[in-house]
Symmetry: C2
Subunit: 655 residues, 2 copies
């Protein structure tokens, strides 16, 4: 006989309590409050097979309220996934346990996306749901036909990213996305009414969502609401009225159960009230079996899918795309040959548009977009038609003025698999998207950020629009490759590297202003090394001018002046710090020799460049906010001219 929903849910509650108790750290309130909803979802609705958590057509489940991580660890374990084991759960929140404090997609295959930073799970789910519709339109119902489920708390709904995410989902008509809102009326500081008094359902409805409410502790009522959500063509918000920490006598329904162990007394009382007798971390056989059965509920569906995919004319292509491998035969060689034959003086944002022309033609897995700066970011090519509710097969998303929402959605597109997303905004607005860029890096998501207007070179828009600290602040993010190419060739090379790196995000910082084509050879992707000698000294080398992007041209001019004075100077182009840092020591020493004055030139903050110049080198840059004026005047005003640089370098050598 199958165990009742309540018993199944109590197994979650018990595991959550036990794990938090053992760690003496964690969040029991949410798993206990949402146990009933999660039980209904995972035993009756969610399409998955515990034997293959990477089955491409599984439903995606996102625990946006990531602090309730014990909920998903309990669900994965109880449904028979290989991991986490009960020992993993016993090691909840311990070093090297896959059951980390918050769910990490790189720890357990059943975790679709890393959550914890509030609101982002939900916003990432928008990308997951959009990927489903896009791949469905591309590969058909036989191969792609699944839903995206989200559990979100009041925190997720209060964060600004929520507005951007639901605005996108409502606009794109992502009807297969269903958000289960843990409506427990409690935040960390106390009652929700301390800080908010909005009508959330009305707000979602205003944004094109279907909404329905249910008693989150009544399985039949939960089913009614989920059925209604599935039936409605709009994305759905299901307000699940719950009691946080449900079952914990004297503590349930208060913020006291949110983020700390209940303590042995309350745990004992809760067990007594639930009639739960097993030892800690033990699950009675009947309950365990019922849960295990839920884990194989969709096995036949999966096997039928595998057979369909094997038989499908597009099956191999679909599998290849889901594996992350780029379309075979992808090459930029003819494009590069064309540039060499016919050099172009172009802004790197324009050079990016050119190379994207051939990339988007060759790689149908690319899906582009911009946060309402399409004509400035140059992200739309001929091959890309709008992706919207009228044509999910399109490959260009008008993300609107939603930088953060775009970045989070791109994380979802990448994590779903089958898609290589890229999207644009101004570099200065990387700040708006920064929390999602960090999660791209943490999650090893191949997302390509196209950030144009990358310095004071944008001119008149002034300090609010001029990146100063942004390049270095982005270079600090682990596992993010920041590229700043100097010309058309480097732009193509950096795009190639970004596409080929399936293990993390890349960010291209591109100029608004025109730049000469400096490279005369493209036989090797030199950007792969992060930095390389672009021009070698003629006179005996005393100086190395290291520059990036638009300032490489400046370095070349300054070098000419130095050489004219008999001072030998190399020019090193350094499009990518992280790649250079990964080179062998002898390569790095060859590029930046100890016996030369190392000079950095970049129209951004100098703090950080000591890494390459040492304390004895010179650093040209801008250590204050920018100013409004025509770009050439600004370069002059901030001392970033070949004259000023050559003069100061020569003077430094004389001292």
């Amino acid at each position: 006989m199958a165990a009742s929903d309540t018993l199944l849910a109590n197994a979650i509650r018990a595991l959550a309590m036990d794990a938090v108790e053992a760690a003496n750290s964690g969040h029991p309130g949410m798993p206990m409050g949402m146990a009933d909803v999660a039980t209904v979802l995972w035993t009756r609705y969610l399409k998955f097979d515990a034997a293959d958590p990477k089955w491409p057509d599984r439903d995606r489940f996102v625990l946006s309220a990531g602090h309730g991580s014990m909920l998903i660890y309990a669900l994965l374990h109880l449904t028979g996934h290989a991991r986490p084991t009960i020992d993993d759960i016993k090691n909840f929140r311990q070093l090297h346990s896959p059951c980390a404090g918050h769910p990490e997609n790189f720890e357990l295959p059943g975790i679709e996306t890393t959550t914890g930073p509030l609101g982002q799970g939900l916003a990432t789910a928008v990308g997951l749901a959009l990927a489903e519709r896009h791949l469905n339109a591309t590969f058909g119902d036989d191969l792609v036909d699944h839903r995206t489920w989200v559990i979100a708390g009041d925190g997720c709904l209060m964060e600004g990213i929520n507005h951007e995410a639901i605005g996108l989902a409502g606009h794109l008509g992502l009807g297969r996305m269903i958000v289960l809102w843990d409506d427990n009326r409690i935040t960390i500081d106390g009652a929700v009414e301390l800080s908010s008094s909005e009508n959330i359902a009305a707000r979602y409805a205003a944004t094109g969502w279907h909404t329905v409410a249910c008693d989150g502790h009544d399985p039949a009522d939960i089913c009614r609401a989920l059925d209604e959500a599935i039936a409605d063509p709009r994305p759905s918000l299901v307000a699940c009225r719950t009691i946080i920490g449900k079952g914990a006598p004297g503590k349930e329904g208060t913020s006291a159960v949110h983020g700390a162990a209940l303590g042995p007394d309350i745990v004992a009382k809760t067990r007594l009230a639930m009639g739960w007798e097993p030892e800690a971390f033990e699950v009675p056989e009947e309950i365990a079996e019922t849960w295990a059965a839920a884990g194989v509920r969709s096995r036949d569906v999966r096997l039928a899918w595998e057979a369909r995919c094997d038989a499908d004319a597009q099956g191999a292509t679909f599998r290849r795309r889901m594996s992350g491998e780029l379309t075979e035969g992808f090459t930029l060689k003819p494009y590069l040959d064309g540039l060499l034959a016919n050099p172009q003086k172009l802004a790197t944002r324009k050079a990016s548009e050119l190379v994207l022309g051939t990339i988007t033609e060759q790689l149908p897995e690319t899906v582009g977009g911009s946060a309402d700066l399409t004509g400035s970011n140059n992200t739309k090519t001929k091959a890309l038609q709008p992706l919207n509710r009228n044509d999910y097969a399109g490959r260009y998303v008008y993300y609107g003025i939603r930088e953060f929402g775009m970045a989070a959605a791109m994380n979802g597109l990448a994590l779903h698999g089958g898609i290589v997303p890229f999207g644009g905004t101004f570099l200065v607005f990387a700040d708006y998207a920064r929390p999602a860029i960090r999660l791209s890096a943490l999650q090893n998501a191949r997302v390509i950020y196209v950030m144009t207007h990358d310095s004071i070179g944008l001119g008149e828009d002034g300090p609010t629009h001029q990146p100063i600290e942004h390049l270095n602040s982005l270079r600090l993010i682990p596992n993010l490759d920041v590229y700043r190419p100097c010309d058309t060739i480097e732009t193509a090379e950096c795009w190639e590297l970004s596409l080929q790196d399936a293990t993390g995000p890349s960010l291209l910082a591109l100029s608004r202003q025109n730049l000469p084509q400096l490279r005369t050879d493209a036989s090797e992707n030199l950007c792969a090394k992060g930095a390389y000698r672009l021009v070698a000294a003629e006179a005996p080398r005393r100086v190395v001018l290291v520059a990036t992007g638009s300032e490489v041209e400046l370095a070349v001019s300054a070098r000419a002046q130095l050489e004219a004075k008999g001072i030998g100077a190399d020019v090193v182009s350094m499009p990518c710090w992280s790649r250079f840092d990964a080179q062998p020591a002898d390569y790095r020493r060859d590029v930046l020799p100890k016996d030369a004055l190392i000079v950095s030139i970049e129209a951004g903050t100098t703090m950080g460049w000591e890494r390459y110049t040492g304390l004895d080198g010179l650093r040209f840059g801008i250590d204050r906010f920018g100013a409004s004026g025509p770009a050439p005047k600004l370069y002059d005003y901030f001392g970033l001219t070949a004259d000023a640089i050559a003069t100061k370098v020569a003077a430094a050598l004389e001292n």
Copy 2:
């Protein structure tokens, strides 16, 4: 005879066209589209006196759609403000003109807040409006009784920050805040419907706002809507149906007029259609006089206010607070003496709470808050009662799970004057608030960020919650002082410095974990120098261990091990890079002498520390994402123990 509203508005349109044409850069569409609304607002509703743009009881006007900067430059000029002059406007977007590409509060006294990064003007206005209510409750109707007006575009309303801002304003019942939405249905990429399909009025209504619509080109209808907005006790959204670039034949109503000069042909046609004959930058006398009259409309009101303020028992206090000067007699000496007499081993977040106890008692101008982490950030003291719609005299804001909204609102509180705001979240979520932190710095706003849980020392919550790159990424922001105190004494010193710096923001990075009190003397605020020798070497000095915050304790232990081996080592505590960088060269050389091995120790990214260690020094830190586990295990895992450090330092000296 007074010129008609249409003629007044056309003067704005003409100046906007002329200035953008002269600069061949800028945004004519918005000023032309909103000229009629702005004319009605500034000639009939806005309380201001051009002779004293800093009059404390003026209405605040915020151009949240900052790209339409020519609108406010035209308004300030036409109403007779000393600046901008017509020459300033002729130099629109030129280096050193106060008429920068986007409005900058430090360029012109009539600009309340720097805008351009979309959504933030509106979110800052929430702080301005809240400041008004708080000061009204504190000082009474006689001294504080004004409104906050905002012009916002679709971009401001689409950004996530909009959700946080209106959520706060609706919850706090800021009925004196009125947002004039430039409802022109156009974004840069084209029609709004490309990227959004929400019912904005319904969304605002769901969030506790009053909404009303009007024809943005019909003065009578605009007046009707503004009257209704004023009458309603809720904050109001006035949807002004407008045509972007109104008046430009063939181009109005399209995104083509948004962000580029119209060109001489269209300008000529527009002038013809408007019947506008004057030369460029000229305004006919009758129109100029009518505008000038609007600039003195509230002069009597201001003079009456000045008289009331002079007579008011609290008038001098109010003026002192508005000047930014701290309450007289403020001192932390007794508090520091207490610490010296009775040393405390405390987390610096707890030390912060203690010192805030005396600060909030002594300084009624302080208004605290937290983004739903009150008990973790330790930001609430006994002196602070909740500030909400039932008690605007309260001094503690429950900002909700809205880090960005909190930061922007704090900018508004600071820019209004009379208030020194501080607010807390976890350091890792500085990323969520980063765009507003940058604007605190650019705007010279005294905002104090209380960022706790400042490293892997927070333990089990794992990589999504552990700051790694954050300290250095924040240190990169110009004009932001980042403090990381190591004990109770330094925490108090850093608070003192933050409060005393009226010219910019400060950020306190505070530990979750307990730290010993290392300082034994508090006769001088040593943090003022940014870094100082905490412990001097006993054996001949060969090493300087430079550390911050929780790692200073580590440095002290590592030093003891080195000294035991006969290796003399200083310990330098470096709570604030920017302050240290501002010290004279000889002081810096004394603290970090060239003849010693400089070693940095900080539980964050090492990239950037080369600035102090040089390339030959050692850098202990974490150059990857964190991990979930108990804090001591994490410190051990990442090699941040006294043993590991002392061993490596000793080995380096042997090489």
